[in-house]
Amino acid sequence: MASNFSIKHQPGFTAIAATCFIVLYLPIFVLVVYAFNAASSTSEWGGFSLKWFQSAYQNTQVIDATLRSFQIGAIAAVLSTIFATMAALATTRTASYPGLTFKYAAINQPLMVPEIVTGVALLIFFSRIKIFTGYSGIGYLVAAHTAFCIPFAYLPIRARLENMDLTLERAAADLYATPWKTFRRITLPLLWPGILAGLMLAFVISLDDVVITEFVKSGGQDTLPTYMLGQIRRGITPEINAISTAFLLLSVAIVTLFFFVSRKRD
């Protein structure tokens, strides 16, 4: 019946959508449920218990890896957001010129290059520096994370800058504000939600990284994801579920915050 045709209601689409959601969320749901398993199996239910959370909390290796993840994530997020802010300002507050598109591509390169390639490249590059300087601290991880977080921090900041009315900065200059004061009093406050969004996105991306971290880390420099990967190789207990669940909660919290911050207008 042609008169009843509606692009929004097609037969079968509900089923496809439901399947997609189930495939996406059912495994996560199962993972979360078994985090509360009293038995030490990830597939047989033995009653409700919080003991795996407690055991994870008392596992110094877990705490150690978590703190390292936060430390790297925080430093990398701040550094990459600073670089991304400068890059966004430089690429939006200018007339278009030949090579600008290339610069966009260069900034967003980590989004396109396979992580494994970056990982191997960094491994070789950093090993040379290690030999040369003798330094083998956490700095390599921070540098690597900062580099691949830049495009993620860059995107919301640039979007915010592009939506900002340039006349506002012109008006400030007209009212005797020097370029620095214009930036401090007008551009930065209006850009702030974008910067916060970039910061949080960068933090989550850093927290989540496995591939590059696995290649770059030295002994005893496990982050939470690489620690979990190592544990799984040795056999799984619901402790992994509990850590994952806590990790999931944190990510959801940050992403939700990111959503509200980036949605905030003016």
Binding site: D165, T167, A171, A173, L175, Y176
Partner: protein, 364 residues
Amino acid sequence: MPDKPDRNAIEVVNVSKIFGSGEGQVAALDKVSVSIRENEFFTLLGPSGCGKTTLLRLIAGFDFPTAGEILLYGQDIAPLPPFKRPVNTVFQSYALFPHMTVADNIGFGLEMLGKPRAEIKARVAEMLKLVKMEALAGRRTGQISGGQQQRVALARALAPQPKVLLLDEPLSALDYKLRKEMQIELKRLQHETGITFIFVTHDQEEALTMSDRIAVMSSGKILQVGSPWDIYDKPAERFVADFIGETNFLTAAISGVGSGKARATLKSGTTIEATVAEGFQPKDNATVVVRPEHAKLTKDKGDLSGTVENIVYFGTDTHIHVHLDSGEAFTVRQQNTRSAGCGFERGDKVGIIVGNDAAQVLRD
């Protein structure tokens, strides 16, 4: 009107602004020179793309001229950045700072000038009163109406007491009634503050009602500068006559040019007296303009004769379009009365009387 000394606030000397390079070069301003007197309400009038906004941006400092000087009370300001010029702008989009209150917006310029807090507070209060916005001082700029934003933009630009205030089509976003109100308001503010206003608009009616003097611009050039009366009644060029108001163009043979007057022999054979545009180069045939309201329709013989082609009723008046026997078109505007129609009908053979002081000979 405050008395107007002959001191010039702004002198634009041979200013050109060229955008692009090579083949794609466009001259937004082509060797423009104009003087703007202290305390006057000066309007740059022209269609979009004529260069009026470019000239305003050069005076504000948002752009720099390719050639020429811009003098502010004798000092060349053309190379200075905007924050070093004692000139403020009211933007077409108002450009109010959305993260600040109304009062903070108004005080911003003074704060940047490093004025003491107490002085800023007093001046902001004074400005709020001037634009009648005292009640909304603490509001964010997103929480007030378009007309109120307009007032805040004005107060913000006036607060640092600039030597010249630049207004870039500030009324174009307002509805008709509010625009009329703001026109009067702007005149009042200019009168009360005694600041030189440079107003940019494409609206000829706005220009005529508000300005002390008008510069009519087209294609990067200033065609004529004069009082509204000069511009309307004594247009120098075809573009000016055509852009401002409605007018009739007639071809005539010119003779006896002298002391601003000449005799124009129209195609109908009648000779009328006309004023002559400045810079008119004597030639045999020239264009004569007659405003529709300066001509009268008659059923007898007039200076011109023709046939009524169309009659359009406008409420206050009626426009009667006549096809002249010479082949030219001519419109007469006739004031309406309540009692009767305009007295003519389509197809009527009519005469047109061009008044004694109605015709102007253009220079092109």
